[in-house]
Amino acid sequence: MKILQGVVFVCVLFAVHVQAQETRLDEPEAQAPVRFEAVDVYMDSKDEPLAAYQFEFAAETGEIKIVGIEGGEHPAFKEPPYYDPAALSKDRIIIAAFNTGKDLPAGKTRVARFHVQVMGEADPEYVVKLDVAASVEGKRIPATMTLAKGEPK
């Protein structure tokens, strides 16, 4: 009986201790400075017209939340791309878009703009990984991607 009471008591103490730790961990985050910034994603398909793309965007360092997504600068990709709504408020997202029309961008073009909320002083380090870029026939084409910080609206 006393052993059971002891075990229960230890369990309660452990739970309270863990909860207290998590509360302490949350405190700095709640007090940390918050700012917003925009990140532009460019894709360069060289001479090949770009008809479809898919890539993954994430923050490798720093603490961010993705709060908004815009389409690209070319009319073919002006509409917001496909993304998982669950990715909003997280630090990682997969983006994709395509256009079956004839008027397609070639060379370097901005394909998306992310609006992110940055928590804390540290500057986040963003990474982008190209999954696929395709021509109008749906064939994979080589492309490069770059990031640039823009001004938030």
Partner: protein, 158 residues
């Protein structure tokens, strides 16, 4: 105090008469036989009176232990199930897909599957029933969107 003690020492010791001592000894020293039934009855009555006092304490003790155990279990369950979400880092996408969204059949679902179906839909070629991704009986842009959403799903990408 000292004077009182000295007075007590000086007093002669009182002794009862020998006959009185013998009579009192005969009166109270004699053994009175107690029947076994009386003994048993006394024991039963004693048990009846004493047992109810112990039982509530026992019940209370178990009730306290049960409540404490329940509280501990509840706290642990809340902590384990409802704890704050841990940050997750990007990981490589799984190429394991079995599903009909893999339109081009290359083993993974990406935007090229949606793009290929979109081209089929827009070119008005023969559309196969198996391309009806959402099961509404027609193959159209909604099926293309379904493939595209599957391609960008974080669940599949983790």
């Amino acid at each position: 105090m000292i004077g009182e003690n000295e007075n007590q020492k000086n007093e002669p010791e009182l002794e009862a008469p020998k006959g009185l001592v013998e009579d009192v000894a005969a009166l109270y020293g004699a053994e009175v036989p107690v029947p076994a039934e009386v003994d048993e009855a006394i024991v039963v009555m004693a048990r009846r009176r004493l047992t109810p006092r112990r039982r509530p304490r026992l019940v209370l003790r178990w009730a306290f232990a049960g409540a404490a155990a329940s509280a501990a279990a509840l706290l642990l369950a809340v902590w384990i199930l409802g704890g704050p979400e841990r940050p997750r880092r990007a990981s490589s996408r799984s190429a394991h897909v079995s599903i009909k969204e893999d339109f081009d059949g290359n083993g993974r679902v990406d935007i090229l599957d949606a793009f290929a179906l979109a081209r089929q839909v827009e070119s008005a070629r023969t559309l196969k029933d198996k391309w009806d991704m959402n099961g509404d009986g027609i193959v159209d842009r909604a099926d293309v969107d379904r493939i595209a959403m599957a391609a960008v799903s974080l669940k599949r990408g983790t």
